[in-house]
């Protein structure tokens, strides 16, 4: 349970960090909060000759709440996101999923950027990113680019990021009008990896018709999954006409590679996933109705 030896780099700026990554390529791994990476190193599931610790890079821990969008710096820790009142008002889902991430000690070190770059299929922040069409800002010594959530997650623990790139910030759009948001997650113990979970957002127009719906599931597949069929089904309809239970079933019907492991068979995960979607939807709708 001890990590293999590595060379430690503690750059003070993003440019310095990018220089190190450009030189070392595949041999180096970015270390942020370390709450997923360090266990993997300790169990030697991963071995890197170099770690580039971005924990001391100036300017990467920040929350910028704008009128139309919110930008969160990559090394902003979960616990700060969970208690940031302005952020919670602007992008409620971020604050609401935070209590589900591990435990207090994990949230004090874990970072939003680390969670998204690590791309655990049961991760809460990746699911919020997918549901809300967040944009990931990636930088390398070569270039800078922005990748939208639908194109970002490539598979189990895998994204489109190149080894010399750093995720520097994530931008989430703000919703306005009559809207509601909710998260539901099932795990065997609070803070454990989700067996299945769902995040939902809904905004209502005239006659309580669904103006916008955004639903994503996590824990059920190798990446977070957007429930596109559900969203198409509810679009423009009077919200009360939509049966949450049917919507849950519809959401999981579009997932083809449902995970099966010791925590649950794929059939079980489908049922739990459908239940989480239907509860998250009902709760988000309730909030929107009373807004």
């Amino acid at each position: 349970m001890k990590p293999a030896a590595f060379t430690y780099h503690a750059p003070a700026s993003v440019d310095e960090a990018l220089g190190v990554l450009a030189e070392l390529g595949d041999d180096a791994k970015v270390l942020a909060g370390g709450q997923s990476l360090v266990p993997m190193l300790s169990m030697r599931l991963a071995v890197f000759a170099h770690l580039v610790d971005i924990g001391r890079v100036a300017g990467l821990s920040r929350v910028e709440v704008g009128e139309r969008k919110v930008t969160v710096g990559a090394t902003t820790v979960d616990s700060l996101i969970g208690r940031h009142a302005e952020l919670s008002g602007a992008v409620p889902l971020l604050a609401r999923v935070t209590p589900y991430i591990g435990h207090m000690a994990i949230r004090n070190r874990g970072t939003l950027g680390g969670s998204i770059a690590h791309a655990d299929p049961a991760g809460e922040y990746p699911a919020v990113a997918v549901a809300l069409d967040a944009e990931m800002r990636l930088r390398s010594a070569r270039a800078e680019r922005t990748v939208g959530a639908p194109d970002f997650f490539a598979g189990l623990w895998s994204t489109v990021m190149e080894p010399d790139e750093i995720l520097v910030e994530v931008t989430f759009p703000r919703w306005d009008g009559r809207c509601g948001f909710a998260v539901r997650e099932h795990a065997r113990r609070h803070g454990d990896f989700a067996i299945a979970g769902a995040v939902a957002g809904v905004s209502l127009g005239a006659g309580d018709r669904v103006e916008r719906a955004a639903v994503a599931m996590f824990g059920v597949s190798s990446t977070p999954v957007r429930a596109r069929q559900l969203e198409a089904e509810v679009a423009g309809r009077p919200a009360r006409e939509c049966d949450p239970e049917q919507l849950g079933a519809l959401a999981v019907s579009g997932v083809h590679d449902v995970v099966s492991d010791m925590s649950g068979s794929s059939a079980y995960r489908r049922r739990v996933g459908a239940a989480m979607v239907s509860r998250a939807w009902a709760s988000a709708l309730e909030e929107a109705m009373s807004a």
Partner: protein, 167 residues
């Protein structure tokens, strides 16, 4: 920060329980092993060494963290508080420690330092917790004796007495 000849060795300077500590260590040395092996503070226990059990919980700049999931070098310039730093200089128990003793919040004692450190930070931030909040706050710490009822009572007693704050 890098130690000239051997790039996998690094200098660490931090405060531990108010005492300045400095050493040159392997970069891969966790904060937990630094506390136990370099500082000789063996009150911080290592159960799983991969962040699942919570026995190694310590405070870094006042925040509870798992010391097995942090490298010693990441504590550079920071202030670390271990179980040894919670009591009085004369060995007097802290209010949380006192409550664990009076309510039988420990059996074999292996997980106890992690629980006490976690509860100390929790009650400082939330002096009047609901029982569900206490359970959530303790969810990251495992007691293999399964002595949770006494632990829950200890937290409630420490909170009720309003004595949970870090001095």
């Amino acid at each position: 920060m890098l130690d000239g000849g051997n790039p996998s060795r690094v200098a660490v300077e931090c405060q531990v329980n108010g005492v300045a500590r400095s050493a040159t260590v392997q970069a891969r040395l966790t904060l937990a092993d630094f506390l136990r092996e370099v500082c000789g503070l063996t009150g911080t226990h290592l159960g799983c060494e991969h962040g699942a059990c919570g026995a190694c919980s310590v405070l870094v700049d006042g925040d509870v963290v798992r010391s097995c999931l942090m490298f010693a070098v990441q504590a550079n310039g920071r202030s670390v508080t271990t179980i040894e730093g919670l009591g009085g200089p004369d060995g007097a128990l802290s209010p949380v420690q006192e409550a664990f003793r009076s309510e039988h919040g420990l059996q074999c004692g292996f997980c106890t330092p992690g629980f006490v450190v976690t509860v100390t930070a929790f009650l400082r931030d939330n002096p009047d917790p609901a029982e569900t909040e206490i359970r959530e706050a303790l969810s990251g710490n495992l007691c293999r004796c399964t002595g949770y009822q006494g632990i829950l009572k200890a937290v409630a007693v420490a909170a009720r007495a309003g004595r949970g704050a870090v001095e």
